[in-house]
Symmetry: C3
Subunit: 270 residues, 3 copies
């Protein structure tokens, strides 16, 4: 795809505040990658203050990893307030299928909050799609097979239309759809899955991208490509995972629109 | 000791899921080191979902650092469920002697959960031994002097027999006993104590090792040697601690059974 | 200023225990930087044990980032106990102005706990100064303009006299005052603000410095200079933020009083 965006330039110019309600495993990485791309992270999950924090933020990212009863309430409150004040919201339904609590939380959030982007790996998005369509106690039936890239694209498209949001499925294959346009992004390396939190970091980065750019399939494809490209640029044969993680952070902080224009492998599916 | 294990090979082949209920200080390091060795980490501590998460995991690691009233309940529930479904459980009684809450929690866990491995530094294991034998309000009497390596080995052996688990004492001296066999492991460097979470990381790695290998003194000695060896391979004179930490992660991710076979310094005590 | 301290030497000799009640975003960095400087970190925030942990510590650091209702109670309990047993306490009022909860918490802590040092960026300290003088519901009036370095120094001096503590304002300009002496510290680089937690890390380091050195403007200036100098020594043109973060940790762990004596840019204002 011809890439003409100045997505990263705008982030660095405007330094948007990205409020994250996220897990304690990767919160530090999410904060650092947001700083790296030029945004200002705030992490805050206390029910008594999340609405106030949302009111000073430019985007909200809700990540349900290490959720607990306290933070689940905060997520709903923050998301509702974000809709009220008109800032975009990203949902990362981490491990959605792994427990009933996560399914219920995902369903509850999808019902009460209008999201701009929902991003997860294939199993998380399949699970989110299922709870949306069959309820959190529904069977794990799925209209789409998802063993083929085409089926994944069709599910992304269908889900995007249902929830009127951009759906991003990332992992070994990356697909982004807003229900009208659907892209396949071929950046990234397999090794990225051996670093914890690459998905969480991508969701936080997405918050930065859509805080100052339109929450379209094009914008979300750009951030997915940026993360994958950072992984490509940083990897060399025989590298240990500690060094690889450092280089990933380096490459996001050094990336700009010219690098992304040159290196992105975004292809139109629909 | 002649080392014939293919402990790491099995982990990389089977990618066991290791469920960690752990502290927020080192959770990221624990997740990354598990990915480095070839396992799949899940961090989850909410009472309403831990039993479900345990049911899809291949091992459970309970680490009481930054425990709180909420997570203490989750630890008991998760441990009980792990016993029920038959997956091995590791206990890391972080800072056991530092507060009554930690002593009570350790005692409660030792009473309600059958652990496969208990791993801590000498002061934590002494304290865990004390609460087991004298209750959490008991005096800090200890039958063993522990200023000598022999005494440490005897305590490990005694404790292992009492709780029918492998006991691993790590720090400047590493001892592993299952009550029948006892090993002294001489890998590692003093500098490792200047990186936070080397103990936590080792406990999580132990979860990966015993998820797919027998929870024996031999297996646990191997993982202790692997961690120490990663520390040896990564250190050079005058190195700063930031770089050392990265190299430790590199060396775990690059380690295999051949490296461990060559570099381990496991000696039989009994 | 002529610098004759052996601040770091004393830390490495005495290995003080620094108890941190801090946020989950930067807790790992705080623990690692404390180990790097030669102190022993303990992170513990459960109400039922913080008093006990304080009783074995040499300093307490209270950082209100990612505060919640549970930890707010722990902060008051721990601070009160620290005063009782006579160990110094550092307050880091992270994001003080961002929510009423943070303002109330800061005011409550300033009223109930005698702090040795309060450290924050200019906006946090202005907000803390405001809540102290006008209550947490007061207007954000401020007697000081703070657009000029002189005004910042005067506010630091005034606030220090009010709360009988050392006040450290850090960021693009660093000012430290104990109400009698006021110093401007010109170490550091702009790039440090692109790494999360440099403020939190500095607050934790301050705990280590004042655990074994007098909590004076001189001591606090030294630790502020140490952090800035680590940032200067570690930065090179075109460096990515992942590598820069590693080098910051390296340089703190390799720093000693001779390096600090040579490289500090502490100037007396008053």
């Amino acid at each position: 795809m011809s890439y003409n965006g100045d997505f990263i330039g705008k982030i660095r110019e405007k330094n948007p505040i990205v409020h994250n309600i996220t897990n304690y495993v990767t919160a530090n990485d999410c904060a650092n990658i947001l700083l790296g791309i030029g945004a200002s992270p705030i992490m805050a999950d206390e029910e008594n203050e999340v609405e106030k924090i949302v009111s000073i933020a430019d985007a909200l990212v809700i990540n349900i990893g290490t959720l607990n009863q306290r933070t689940v309430e905060s997520m709903v409150k923050a998301g509702t307030m974000a809709n009220k004040v008109g800032i975009p919201v990203v949902l990362d339904p981490v491990g959605c299928g792994a427990s009933d609590l996560r399914k219920r939380t995902t369903l509850n959030l999808l019902e009460k909050v209008d999201f701009s982007v929902v991003r997860g790996n294939i199993s998380e998005i399949k699970s989110a799609f299922n709870v949306k369509n069959h309820g959190s106690k529904g069977v794990d039936a799925n209209e789409f097979d998802c063993s083929e890239i085409e089926e994944i694209c069709l599910m992304a498209d269908d889900f995007a239309n249902q929830i009127e949001a951009v759906v991003a499925i990332t992992g070994s294959i990356d697909v982004v759809s807003d229900g009208k346009e659907t892209f396949i992004i071929k950046n990234g390396t397999k090794k990225m899955s051996r670093i914890t939190g690459t998905g969480c970091m991508l969701s936080s980065l997405t918050g930065a991208f859509i805080a100052v750019n339109k929450a379209s399939a094009e914008t979300v494809s750009a951030v997915v490509a940026a993360m994958g490209l950072a992984g490509e640029l940083g990897y060399s044969q025989g590298m240990g995972m500690g060094s690889y993680r450092v280089s990933l952070m380096d490459n996001i902080s050094l990336m700009d629109d010219a690098v992304l224009r040159e290196g992105n492998k975004i292809e139109r599916f629909k």
